[in-house]
């Protein structure tokens, strides 16, 4: 079911209500209703060297932040606001963790240096630096900075001189699997799927994606190892993905 069939007015009303009450149950409902958007956007950022599950976690956390920070009085649709937030978080995640392993060493080294330089310059300038400013600070040509930044976002074929580029059509990036997520009504599919999970799995999902706890925090809270939390989360997400797939 396309997202635009979702009763937008009802969603707006719920956000208006949440803005006043900050009701936890309503918050859960709003988060759950938009987790499909997190999956869709994570899919767009897949194949960049970061596990898909991690991207989904980052995107889901961004949905939680979006629900908490959304101001329905500003006249912007929640999906627009959330998309901006999720993309921003995914970009930051890839910048920090999504290292382009296939980039040439000189680009890797430059990118690592740029990471520090970007932070320092951003603080000094009070804004994001320009490429010219970065190049000057790093003592590198602007072209090299541009290529390093390209590689830093972990694009699948991040550098022009990637040795093992694949014969892949562009459209295959957005092929069948993407359509699988695009045609799903988030609430009607996800909520029942979550309900089928065990109480502990549901609790872990809530702690991770609604309350925003880290896996280690969850592990400490429920008395198991972080690795076990990771496995339970992965298994739960897999079952949710299967629920998506069954709706095709």
């Amino acid at each position: 079911m396309p997202n635009d069939i979702r009763p937008a007015e009802a969603t707006r009303e719920k956000f208006a209500e949440f803005a006043v009450t900050r009701d936890a149950v309503l918050r859960d409902e709003l988060v759950t209703a938009h987790l499909g958007l997190a999956h869709q956007l994570a899919r767009r950022f897949a194949n960049r060297g970061e596990p898909y599950d991690d991207l989904v976690q980052v995107a889901s956390m961004a949905i939680v932040k979006s629900v908490d920070r959304f101001d329905p009085g500003r006249g912007v649709e929640f999906s627009t606001f959330a998309t901006r937030t999720v993309i921003g978080e995914l970009k930051r995640h890839l910048r920090d963790k999504g290292w382009a392993v296939r980039a040439p060493r000189r680009i890797q080294e430059l990118y690592l240096e740029l990471g520090h330089t970007i932070s320092t310059l951003s603080q000094d300038l009070g804004r994001s630096p320009t490429v010219a400013e970065l190049a000057k600070a790093a003592g590198a040509p602007e072209e090299a900075v541009l290529e390093a930044l390209e590689a830093g976002q972990g694009y699948r074929t991040s550098s022009i001189d990637v040795p093992d580029r694949q014969e892949e059509t562009l459209a295959s990036r957005i092929g069948g699997e993407d359509a699988r997520y695009a045609g799903v009504d988030d609430r009607s599919v996800l909520a029942p799927a979550v309900a089928k999970l065990g109480p502990r799995e549901q609790a872990i999902l809530r702690l991770r994606f609604v309350d925003g706890l880290t896996q280690s925090d969850i592990a400490a809270r429920i008395g198991v190892s972080q690795m076990h939390v990771s496995r339970l989360l992965a298994a739960s997400l897999e079952r949710l993905r299967e629920a998506f797939a069954e709706e095709e």
């Binding site: 627009t80 970065l134 930044l149 390209e150 074929t157 892949e168 295959s172 990036r173």
Partner: protein
């Protein structure tokens, strides 16, 4: 997925200021490993216009999305990109998909997610057709004021 009404790219805001060196044209086969050229061209031009790093990253994503929005699995052909520097703070990019000879142009419903992503990343965007080819365009302006 919905059909989106065609939206012609409005005339540039600085028609008299566009010089030949303000326009870059690039044609690439529809292949993932070559979209890097579309992104790097956009990033290079954006850098010349003075976009900051965040804005350049947004533009990279938007260019890729622009290309993705025109093709789907099994399509074969070329993407023709035209980058135009607009004034001293903006860039317009138009991307046209030209199907390979003998490959008919298939109707392509617009992906809602593509629209949302472009909404989030650029100032303006739209779609139209040009000479029977599918075309998508975007505009993005620098937010920072250069002293």
């Amino acid at each position: 997925m919905t059909e989106m009404p065609a939206t012609e790219m409005p005339a540039t805001r600085f028609p008299k200021e566009i010089a030949p060196w303000d326009v870059i044209e690039l044609t690439i086969p529809v292949r993932t490993d070559l979209v890097v050229l579309a992104r790097l061209t956009a990033a290079t031009l954006a850098s010349r216009v003075g976009f900051d790093v965040e804005e350049i990253e947004d533009l990279r994503l938007a260019v890729e999305e622009l290309c993705l929005s025109l093709v789907r699995n099994g399509d074969d052909g070329r993407l023709r990109l035209r980058y135009t520097r607009e004034g001293d703070d903006g860039i317009a990019i138009a991307c046209t998909f030209e199907a390979a000879p003998g490959r008919g142009l298939r109707e392509l419903p617009v992906d809602d997610l593509s629209i949302r992503i472009l909404d989030a990343l650029v100032d303006e965007h739209g779609r139209s057709s040009e000479g029977g080819h599918k075309r998508a365009w975007l505009r993005k302006r620098r937010s920072r004021t250069v002293a």
